[in-house]
Structures are given as structure tokens and as C-alpha cells.
Symmetry: C2
Subunit: 486 residues, 2 copies
Amino acid sequence: MAETVGLLGCGVIGGGWAARFLLHGFDVRLYDPASDAEGLAGEVLENARRAYRRLTLAPLPAEGSLTVVASAEEAAAGVAFVQESAPEREELKRELLAAASRAAGPDVVIASSTSGLLPSHLQADMERPERFTVGHPFNPVYLLPLVEVCGGERTAPETLERAAALYRRLGMRPLVLRREVDAFVADRLLEALWREALWLVADDVATVAEVDDAIRFGAGLRWAVMGTFLTYRIAGGTAGMRHFMEQFGPALALPWTRLTDVPELTEELLDRLVAQSDEQAGGRSLRELERLRDDCLVSVMQALRTHDFGAGAVLAEHERALFAAAPDGSGAAADEAPLRLHTAVVAPEWIDYNGHAHESRYLQVFGDTTDALLRHIGLDLGGGSSYYTVETHLSHLGQARAEERLHTTTQLLGHDEKRLHVFHSLYRAGDEALLATAEQMLLHVDTRAERVAPAAPELLARVERIAAAHADLPRPDRAGRAIGTR
Amino acid sequence: MAETVGLLGCGVIGGGWAARFLLHGFDVRLYDPASDAEGLAGEVLENARRAYRRLTLAPLPAEGSLTVVASAEEAAAGVAFVQESAPEREELKRELLAAASRAAGPDVVIASSTSGLLPSHLQADMERPERFTVGHPFNPVYLLPLVEVCGGERTAPETLERAAALYRRLGMRPLVLRREVDAFVADRLLEALWREALWLVADDVATVAEVDDAIRFGAGLRWAVMGTFLTYRIAGGTAGMRHFMEQFGPALALPWTRLTDVPELTEELLDRLVAQSDEQAGGRSLRELERLRDDCLVSVMQALRTHDFGAGAVLAEHERALFAAAPDGSGAAADEAPLRLHTAVVAPEWIDYNGHAHESRYLQVFGDTTDALLRHIGLDLGGGSSYYTVETHLSHLGQARAEERLHTTTQLLGHDEKRLHVFHSLYRAGDEALLATAEQMLLHVDTRAERVAPAAPELLARVERIAAAHADLPRPDRAGRAIGTR
């Protein structure tokens, strides 16, 4: 049975939590006094679904269901976890958290998304305040892995651990803070930069677009990969961190920031910010900007996944957990004829100058299908034994376009102790159009000796079972084809 | 003939400039009083070469040559451009720039890499100070596109334009500032964040690794994509920028940063920073960290290129310029038999769990070879006419591993007005081992009507020329193969 969580507030952050929980199979009870909570959550969920189709092919649980309720108490009653994401007003949050604490079960962890209010204050009016913690996420909540976990004076240590464990199940990277401090860690850093950015615009040194360019074409690229300290360690060269600090330390005392003042948000400054921001957006709608942001974030996280580093390592670990939690890597029965082992979504980066997927991407999907087949017969991918493709015959019968959902079928045409002869077909979901076929010959290899070798008996037994199930399937028309001009 | 630039200083920044200029075909005259300038530049160049092999397949000019010289005058005499990257001491920089200005030709632009010293001060002792500008890059200089261009009181406007134009030729993204200000724009933002980061460690709120995690798992991912202003515009939701500012403006006055103080770099704080930084590095050498950083940066930039956005748009534009500047997209003669049209390097992300390139990557290289062939016969890729692959027969004969250099050959097996029948072979550079072959049938398509159609006569004429040159080539053994078990 799906677990249920209670969410208080459905702005940009609350909506993001709703999407993240729903996509990970949790049912959500949502309270927001605004009239259109369901519509708002639905919009964020639509963006999130779109992003996840590209983010991962790992098996997510069946999506949870959303129920909008009429009070904080209703949201908190009977749920396994509560997350509050109301506007940043301490009184309002305290009230909501107190109400939730009276309605929720005694051991239910109650978390607040606050960007910077002190947990000791927020938990003051709660029943059983020891199960309260801050769980501060970052927008878009359904994509960015960071969540700061910070307890107050009365928070029990195990509350922090339980919250962190739940966030990890959502594919997040909890950063458990050892001390509470206004704005925690991340927002102190962001606020320092933001304040200086406002000064640069207020003093007319740069426009908002110029400030943004100064980040995204330079240090911003590094920050996606490494934080400031590791970056500077590298910049220090072989002499190391002490050398770097001694060389650049003196600059700290230079007038390089407007550090002693807070910029006043005059009407004039507000007007300037708004006008420059409109110009920067260049007429793109909020929805367009959100999708551009999400598309880029997904691609950046996937890029980092290829190096198993930073946010990419978080994603890779989450995918391993999702695969491990799925009842079967494929879900296919051993005797399905043909086998249905793999689905995929056409990512925008697969598209070439002709407007449809590059030919190599069809083979990528077929290769992933072969991997699914190998897992299906019990092969430990990356272990000492593997099947290598020695020959492939591809036929293209239609075109796959961005965001289309695909699935494949697999027919076993032949086998012996060293070989698998398979025929894959690739279909578009919806109209079930046949887009491509791939006939492949695979050879079993002892990967340590790098030599062709017979497969283990237990693998061969599973292959035999599939062969028996496929014995009566008609041979595909395109099997055994050769290329030739008339 | 290659252009020559003069570089003053060869630390991390000067070495990065040397690599960026050399890889873009400039000869470099380098002055650095340190004894091992050549060795240092060579190390950075080696990292840069490695990064560029993965960054782009666009045709870079032949690498320039490096000459280490004995004085600033020698570096500046007779060159087309001077870039100074000495340590951040105003007197030292003024002296070097003055010496260079006496030795360089009267119209030669002289730029300083200073992170924050005022250009009006730096140009004070120069001859013809109107050709001076700051050109402030970011580490690693050979990869990050940002360069801040900032003139002083006596700088001529055309100096800024000329410097920006040169930096663009290096694939960079110049940000020309309208006003000089200490630390320019980017370093003011970085310094604000850095100062707060030091406070967090000094006050023992977080370790250096925790501070870095608070960036790289959250806002850092966004900053690679969009700057702060555009990010917050989106976070503001449909209500827009004014709403966002009014909602979060009050937080500016909260004690969310240690904004009024400069952290003192005591011995105790230095020790703590160094110890925590050592722990964070986890025993990885500087060289390992540099490569990890570069690998991730390359992948992030390539990820953004798929969306033609931010640093990815800069890279895409640079590649278009490199292709346009190459004498021929391929360099192959029309009558070469077989044709040599394409080279590639195996990127680390091509490698699958078996330790060699995923099968789809071989087809990617063959697909790129087909694209090169199409360019070679005069097709305007992305125009109204194209060839689509309808059938491919791949044979795998060996394995490509990370960083190996590959090249392909192409033999035309047959053609008519609508079809091309080609046979590609993929070799490893060095031992010239044949790793794979691909036989392909391509159909000419009117892409607007999405219908098979005869190719234009001028394309067919070039195809005929290739066919004539290939008429006497023996037919490859593997042509016309079909897959079958014994």
C-alpha cells in the first residue's frame, strides 16, 4: 500500500514537494487556503513528469494520488510524514506546525521548508517538538537534490536521521547541519551573492542580464561540478590550499564588495530590476523558461552522472535503488513471446539536424533492450561474464521525435552455448507504429580472459526456457536480410 | 602564417591562456621570470589538449608553437596581441605593462588578466594607454568561456571591441563592462560568496566540504544554466519579478549573512581550512582533481549545447565558426579512394559496463562519417534536402577504449539518383586495427514534403566523381552480409 504524506502550502516549493512525492509513489494530502491548490500542483506535476521522462529510465513506483483537503489538521491526520511550505512568515508557520502536531500521530516527523527561520522558534508551539526539523529544499524541488536538514534546540537526533532517510528515498541529497543558524548554510551563501548582485544593478555597474552572464559563463559552470573550496584548492596549484589562502587572503580586505550596506529596495530600483528582467526574458513565457531550465538541469545532471560525481552521483545512486526496489528489472515473464523488456522516451538531445532521432539512438535503445534481456536471463552486468554484440542489422521504417515514448519487443531466433541470435522491434507508444528493427548476433565472452567462452549452465537454462516459448513465433520478415542495390 | 601573441606570466592563468591560444593556432611568446615556465605551460597544455579532444570534433587550426623568452620586451616585440597574467600586485603589473607598451607595435592591444585591479591604475605608466584593457578570464582559462573586458579612463572604445573580437575567436564569451569598478562584476559576486563561506567555516557552522555540498547539489546546478536574476524570475511564478522582489526583499535586512565583517585569516582558521580541504580532496592528487573538474566541465558544456543555451550556445557558435574557417569540412580530396572523411576520440562517457565503447557509439561515429560524406558531396545539412539511412549492417571486430583516437574510411559501393550505398570502416589510430565496419543504404528525401525524391544534379555530379574514383576498389569482404546461425 502506498504511504501517505501531508503537505501544507502549495506555492512553488509546496507544489514541487507534491510532484516529487507523487512521482515516487507517495499519496499526498495537500492543504492550501488558496482556491486553486489542485490546479497549481497539477501544473508543477506536469513539468516534473516531463523532466523525469528525460531524467531517468529507472523504474519509478506507480504515481501516487493527490487529495486536496480543507485544513492543516486534515492534511496531517493519519499520514506518515508532514512537510510545511507556507510563506516565510514565522507566525503563520508556527500556527500551521502547531496545528499539524496536534493532528498527526505522535511519532510522525514534521518538517518545514523554511529558507532561513530558526527551527527552535518554529517548533515552539508544537506538541512533541522533538519530531520537528527543517527540511529546506531548492527550486525546482522535483529536480535539485539538495535538502538542508536542521533541527532546533528541542529536536531529537533521530528526527534528523528519519527525515534524511525519507528524503534519500526521493533521490535527494540531505545535508544535515550540526548547528542552527539564520538562513542555514546555502541561503547564507546565496544571500551574500544576491545582495551584491542587487548592488551592482542599483549602482548601474551592470544590468541583470550582465550579472547573470558573469555567473553562467564562468564560475556557475564550476559550481555545478564543485563548490568554492575544492575549486580554489585546484586553482592554488601544486602549492595547495595554504598557498592559495595566503595569496588571495589579502583581497578579502579590499573594497571588492559592498559588504557593509544593505541595498534599499526603492521604487526606482524595483522598476529597473523589473524592466531589465523583462528584457532578459525576451518575451519567453514562464512556462517556456521553466522547461528550458528543467531541460538544461536534466542534461547537466546526466552529464555529471557519466562521471559519477556530484549531483550525477546522487542520481546514479538513486537509480540503483530504484532498480533494486523494482520487483524484476524488466517486469517481463520468462515465457512472454515476444518479450517486452524495455521502454524509453526520446530525449531532445537525441534529435539531429533532420528533426528526428539520430540513427545511433535507435541502436542505443536496442542495446539497452539487449542489456535488459541479459539481466532477464540472469547475467550480472559488469561481472566476469558478458555477451558482446558482433553483428547488427538495422532497418529504419519510421522516425522517432522528441519526447515520444518507445517500447521494444524481443524474439529469440537462435542460440547455442556461446551465441544468442535475437530480433528486436521498436514501436512508438500510442499508434504502435513500427519504427525500426534490429537483428543481432551476440557472443558470450569471459571478460577477464577477453575470450569467447560457453555461458554458465544457469544462464543457458533460462535461454532454453525463452527459446521454447518463442519456438512457435513466426520468423520476422526482415530477419536474415542483406543490403544490396537492386 | 600563424599570428603570434605575447604572454607575460605563466601561473595557472597565464598557462591557461597559453594553452587556449596554442590550441587555436596562435604562436605564443611567453615571458615568466620563474625558471620552469616551459614545463608549467606544457602541463597546462596537456590538460587542455585532453579536454579539447572531448570538447569538440570541430576542426581546430594546427597547434601553434611556444617560445619562452627572457623579458617582457621580447614577448611583446612584433606580436599581434599581449596578455599579462602576473601575480596580483599593482606595481609589478604596471611595470610589466609599461615595458610591453614600449616594445609592442603602436596599435597592438595589451590586456591584463587582473581579477580586480582598476584598469585606470594599470595603464598609468604605459605608452599609448588607449590600447590597454582588462581581459579577466576564469580558471580553467582553456575551458570556461567568460572573459570580462573592462577599459580604464584612457582606454579607447575600439580597444574593447578589438579585444572582444580576439577572445571570440578563442571560443570565449566576452562581457564588456560599461564602468570600471574594483573586482569588476564576477569577482564581486564570487568574493561576497567566498567571504560568507569563510565565515561559515570560521564560526564552525559547516566544514569546507559541507559548504561545497550546499552549492553543488543545489544552486550551483542552476548557476551553470541561468544566473541569479533569471532563476529568481522563474521562482517568482506567474506573478513575476516584482512579486518575487516584494516577497523576498525583506529578507535582505535579516541577519542572513555576516555582511559587516571581514573574517580574519588567523593561523587557527588557516589550519582548519587546510585540514578540512585535505580531507575533502580524499587523497586525490591535484592532477586527478584537475582532470575530474575538466571532464565534468566538458560534459556540462556539451549538455548545455544540446539545448543551444548558455555556455552550450557559446560552444555551438564557436564550432560553427571553426567549421566555416576550415578550408574544407573534411579535407578529403573528391577522388580519394577510399575517402578519409572523419576522425573521433572515444569520450569516457561512451564506455559501458564492459569497459569499452557502447555499440551505439560505433554507429554514432559511422553516422558522423555519413554526415561528413554528405557535406563532402555538397549537401547543406539541415536544408530542405537530405539523405536518410534506411538500413545498416554493423560488424564488430575489435573494441574501442576511452581516449583512443579513431578514423574512418568510406567506399561508395553503389548509387542511383535516389540512393547511396556506402561501406565505412573504423580504424584505431596507431596500430590501425580495424574495429568495426558499417554498410549503409541511404535514401534521398525532400525533407519538407517528407518524401523520397531524386537528389539535385549538382549533388549527383559529385557522387559520380566519387563513384568513378572508387570503381576499381575491391568489394569489401563484409559487404552484403546477412546474420545467421550456422
